[in-house]
């Protein structure tokens, strides 16, 4: 097996602000292989976007304090100079942002924004070639009449088309890694499904590695091979998608699962919100960052949840599935206490 294309190790990102140091990401490690999709889930402020922006070196280098290691295709990104980072951005690693209306420049034509992305990494190409390439990519992502729409401004596109154009721009240089930051959040559900299908097709075609960042577990379930759950800037659960979704081992993940509405399930299943607010990144809680909102703190002896940060280690089901929890038998607790509340129909069937 070849080395993973992206290796993130002990990544820590801090921002000094007027109120103090924000610990946006702490000791985060993950890998993504070519052709695979990693889903990063977490609520706002969990550090999911911040960590992936670090992969492209998009943070303001004068203020952000980044330590640890990010290796893209073997090349270390942390501390890399601006000119070398530039060669990586959009070429090796491309990013798709969440709100395409805001992420596309309102004053430039869609086609010229795509062509610009191509030209910057193909300095020898003519403007004509870049335009042809832009039309080709718009066609590839399913925009009708691409040779005409190429001269439209972003506001003349529909929401779904804008996101398609954004994807076309991301893929125009055949990147080896595509980071999609909440690619479907701003779209309605039918368009959302189309965009996800498109991303999957394109991934197969280009065999690129994909990171999909979302708070929507439905998106994750459809797209991801592996899942990383983030909370308070740290990874709290990590493993193969199926494992994490069916046998989650961290109370925060249970909370995420419980708060997903399910139109197919019967009404007996309850929607359970996670109580409390996301942790402050300025002054994180002691011990496990989730303990103030966790219903299972009492099950751990010696008040360990409050005093001691649990390590991210292999859980009871094997080496591939890691969790950051003090519970001795998290799977048991999930099956006896959580599952009956959120999906009673599953238990009746079995």
């Amino acid at each position: 097996m070849s080395d993973p294309f992206l290796v993130v190790e002990d990544l820590t990102v801090k921002f000094p602000t007027e109120d103090g140091l924000v610990n946006a990401v702490t000791d985060l490690s993950y890998t993504v292989e070519q052709g695979k999709t990693l889903g990063i889930v977490g609520e706002s402020g969990s550090g999911k976007s911040v960590s992936s922006m670090a992969v492209l070196g998009l943070h303001d280098m004068r203020t952000a304090r980044i330590t640890g290691s990010i290796k893209v295709g073997g090349q270390e990104v942390v501390g890399l100079g601006e000119s070398k980072l530039r060669k990586l951005r959009g070429k090796e690693v491309a990013m798709i942002f969440q709100d395409a209306l805001a992420a596309l420049h309102p004053f430039y034509k869609v086609g010229s924004q795509l062509a610009e992305a191509y030209l910057v990494h193909h300095p020898k190409a003519s403007k004509r070639e870049a335009r042809r390439k832009a039309i080709e990519m718009l066609d590839r992502v399913g925009i009708p009449q691409p040779d005409r729409r190429v001269d439209d401004f972003p506001h003349q596109f529909s929401g779904g088309m804008r996101q398609r154009a954004m994807i076309a721009m991301g893929l125009i240089n055949d990147p080896k890694l595509l980071i999609a930051d909440e690619p479907t959040t701003a779209l309605d559900v039918t368009v959302q499904a189309q965009i996800l299908d498109l991303l999957q097709d394109l991934q197969r075609e280009f065999n690129s590695a994909v990171i999909i960042i979302t708070h929507d577990l439905g998106v994750i379930a459809e797209m991801a091979d592996d899942i990383l759950v983030m909370y308070g800037g740290r990874g709290v659960e990590k493993g193969p998608a199926k494992e994490v979704l069916t046998r989650p081992q961290m109370p925060y993940t249970w909370g995420l699962l419980s708060s997903v509405p399910d139109v197919h399930g019967d009404t007996a299943s309850k929607l359970v919100p996670i109580p409390g607010n996301p942790p402050s990144l300025l002054d994180p809680p002691s011990g496990c960052a989730f303990h103030p909102r966790c219903a299972h703190v009492d099950k751990v002896a010696g008040n360990k949840c409050v005093t001691e940060l649990p390590p991210l280690t292999a859980g009871p089901t094997g080496a591939g599935h890691l969790n950051r929890c003090h519970l001795a038998d998290p799977v048991g607790v999930f099956e006896t206490e959580v599952l009956p509340v959120i999906a009673p129909e599953l238990l009746e069937e079995s």
Binding site: E82, F97, D99, A103, H121, F153
Partner: protein, 335 residues
């Protein structure tokens, strides 16, 4: 687009009518005797009530304003004959009346003064944009650093000095105390007469307007740029791998210019309408100085004309800005 321009121009004409009407009415119902100025000058300061009454009758102040005003407006388009002190003068279109002071057509004198005012306004605006926008961009890029903070605070101090004081001090130091060569003797020399004299005579006025205006434009463009730099599409530009200068000067500045252009439109109109302090202090015979003199001499036609000119300048520069707006921002549809 064409329909929009026509609509705006029609609206502009209505504004101009209202502006000149309100000035007109001021002389009708205001606490002054508008014929007094002309009576004084024609009788060598020996204006008797009887003579005043003759002039008042002759100038039409005994008629109702609504018969005189249409005549005034009509004169602008067709010209008219005006009789003062039993002497009839032909006033060609655009007739803005005859000066009560010297009896000459107002438009003739205005024509002579326009180049001076335009020279002052264009040079000053050019200088403050040239200084202000790049400084604002540079400050936005270094936001929060010592350089940014000291620039912002020193400009805040500078812009809180009253403009006339600033201009007077400039005049005092450069003209009176240092007797600076080339620029130390301000005044208006037509460009066609002597280009170097034109530059030298206006330099101090330009520097004053430039420095004072640039403090504001630095602030505007810094604010607009800080906002633009935090936009998602600027991050997208960076994520594409574009070099920093393209990210800043192509993607961010393009967006930041829109609000700056808007403010500039209003400012430039005001600048044209009269830089009274500047023209007075630096001895430039422009529209502003003229208006000031006319008010003192109760020379109604000149006051009328300068007010009308101010309205035209503001309306046209605002229209120009709106048109420019639709060029800068494709989302703006003029209708």
């Amino acid at each position: 687009m064409f329909a929009y321009i026509v609509k705006r121009l029609l609206a502009g004409i209505v504004v101009m009518l209202l502006v000149s009407l309100s000035i007109f009415l001021l002389f009708w119902y205001g606490p002054s005797e508008p014929a007094r100025a002309i009576c004084d000058s024609k009788t060598s300061q020996r204006c008797t009530p009887a003579k005043l009454e003759v002039f008042t009758e002759e100038l039409g102040y005994n008629n109702a304003w609504y018969t005189e005003f249409p005549e005034y407006v009509g004169g602008i388009f067709t010209g008219r004959d005006i009789t003062i002190a039993s002497q009839t003068t032909r006033c060609d279109a655009p007739c803005l009346g005859l000066s009560y002071k010297n009896g000459k057509p107002v438009w003739d004198e205005m024509k002579g003064r326009l180049p001076a005012t335009f020279s002052v306004a264009i040079g000053g605006a050019f200088l403050y944009l040239l200084l202000g926008v790049p400084l604002g961009v540079a400050a936005a890029r270094r936001r929060g650093t010592v350089a940014d903070k000291s620039l912002v605070s020193s400009f805040l101090v500078l812009s809180s000095v009253p403009y006339y004081l600033f201009a007077l001090l400039t005049f005092l130091y450069f003209s009176v105390l240092f007797e600076a060569p080339f620029i130390g003797n301000p005044g208006y020399v037509p460009f066609t007469e002597s280009p170097s004299g034109w530059v030298g005579g206006l330099a101090l006025a330009w520097i004053c307007l430039g420095i004072f205006g640039c403090t504001q434009y630095t602030r505007y463009s810094r604010g607009a740029m800080v906002e633009a730099l935090s936009e998602d599409y600027v991050r997208t530009a960076k994520a594409k791998g574009l070099p920093q200068r393209e990210v800043v000067y192509k993607h961010a500045l393009r967006a930041a210019l829109v609000p700056v252009v808007t403010i500039f439109g209003i400012d430039f109109g005001t600048l044209l309408a009269g830089t009274i302090f500047t023209e007075k202090i630096f001895d430039i015979d422009g529209i502003g100085l003229w208006a000031l003199l006319a008010v003192g001499q109760k020379d109604l036609p000149i006051v009328q004309a300068t007010a009308l000119f101010a309205a035209v300048a503001l309306i046209l520069s605002n229209l120009l800005v709106d048109l420019l707006y639709s060029v800068l921002d494709p989302r703006v549809r003029l209708s």
